[in-house]
Amino acid sequence: MARAATAAPPASHATAKNGSGKEADLDIKKLDAKKYLRFYEQMVHIREFEELCDHAFRQGTHGIGGYLHLYSGEEAIAVGIIGAMDVENGDAFIGHYRDHAYALAAGSEPGEVMAEICGKATGCSKGKGGSMHICDAKLGFYGGYGIVGGNVPIALGLAWAIKYRGENRVCACFFGDGSMNQGGFHETLNMAQLYKVPALFVLENNGYAMGTSIERSHANPNLASRVESYAMEYHVINGQNIFEVHEQVAAIVESMRTNPRPVFLEMKTYRYHGHGAADTQVTQSTYRSREEVEDWKTHRDPIRLAEQALMEAEILTEEERERIHTEAVEAAKAALKFSDDSPDPSPDELLTDVYV
């Protein structure tokens, strides 16, 4: 019987405690095969998209400037969680600057996302936002934000609006472990719990905020205690396993619809690239070893883990696998081509959109 593949965390990443302890022992065969195939495909597409961004940035000829924060390694979180939401019917989500995947997971046009990253007129934010400020209003994506912790209080408001109107919707808010050290995070958690708004707080705990590990920045590395101090429901989930992520979160989201309340998820994960494009191999060496990165890539890659499980369960064939990878590469290239073929924003655009 195929089981959700999980591997022991590399010892070097102290925070990767491999989930909540109540490791899911999922029978993949009993799950919705089509859905997970789609999730798998989405993860592969996101990975290829991100890797092409990295490449395009280094080429320097596509219009990508400034900061570029890539999601590779964390795909199961965006895909599994946004996949548990009904973004076409009023569920909302909001993220931080590592945000391409949120849009892609919700179904945004890859071309429009890439064009935004490249600053083109056809970008989802008309080229005004760039990589850090992707959004998609029609899919409930309220955008990526560049100020650490800045999106968290806004999520409170999105969730408040749901409660205000008495809808059975939820709002997910994605942020990093670094956000937890911003004061506004705390004000938000307290108020969210006080008002019982349907906010799903999603901590992407990848062990580091830029070059600073959790241990060097959180007096109490047991992050659960901070959340529990607001009497908020807390779950630790292995963010590398799409089956665990999705099954657990889908159940939580459904329960939030009937029992509106804030819920906090700590997703254990890892980022493969440097913090941003400026965080090179050299600067990364000040805070993490190549071995640590390789360990994660080898033993806990969300795509590999999914692939393995789906193939063992005979849901995915080798042929399909190849097709998906090939298509993903092509899709990313097509997105870049769409962007390359797109015009720069017209000069008039400088002055529009400041006010309604």
Binding site: S125, K128, Y145, P153, I154, G157, W160, M191, D353
Partner: protein
Amino acid sequence: MAKHRYADALALALGEEMDKDDSVFIIGEEVGQYLGTLQVTKGFLAKYGPNRVVDTPISEVGIIGLGIGSAMAGLRPVCEMMRLDFSLPAYDQIVQHAAKIRYMFGGQFKVPMVIRGPSGVGRQLSAQHSQALEVLFAHIPGLKVVVPATPADAYGLTKAAIRDDNPVVIIEALRMYFEKPEALEAIQPGLSEIPEGDDWIANIGEAKVLREGKDVTLIGYSTMTISCLRAANLLAQEGISAEVIDLRSLLPLDMATPLASIKKTHRAVVVQEQWGMYGIAAEISAQIAERGFYDLDAPVQRVTGAFVPMPYSKALESLAYPHEEDIVVAAKRTLGGK
């Protein structure tokens, strides 16, 4: 027409907009059960319930964040800051988020929220609670900033702010809150009247000539508009005819009205309650000199507060902000006086 106090005009405007539009709600510290720190929201909780009159912890970041998010989702939050000074812990939410969301997402969202609260000097509240922080908002594209001086504008601009689809900061004049209508009427008849009928609201971005004159133009906003009117009364006693302009809105800023006036008077005094350095009056003065260069017969005079944190002692405090006498002196200076 009915005569109102400034605070009552605020209450009236808020209540009317809440009656009219279910998506309007008010959130802030002590707005509900306590009946409002200054009783502006007295009776609101009982009338509208806790979903629309929301008491909060002392968490300004949370309050503003909740406002931004709910506005993006289509509500019309009115975030009350107990004093506008307390918006500073949430300044990042206002400047980096509320003001920028529309632009940085290419127009996909709007943020129809109001941030309002009493502001200004003159109540012996000392350094941390006596500030006229207009510049901190009016310098930021994406925000609108209105500065009602009179009960009429407290009413009309509040209503306009709530209906505006952009984030609007209402800088309320604490010193005007409880001024008696009679006192205002004595300065100039009509000041405490709210125009009646057909759902009047003010137009954000329109300055107003409150008093006509021909010798010199006095330009103020908020409490300083009232001081300008008092100064005009004093000047009139000396045979000097002063025109008084109330800016009413700092962003957008209507410069056409002052420039037209200066074409006539050739002289201008710009008055501001607190810090002159890089203050509101600097922009007004600069624009007058740049755009009205050939109209001006004398240098623009700025009358501003002392460039110091506000002292507590009444004796010092009253030296720290302009009074009508200072405006009179400045006006005479434009007329060749000393």
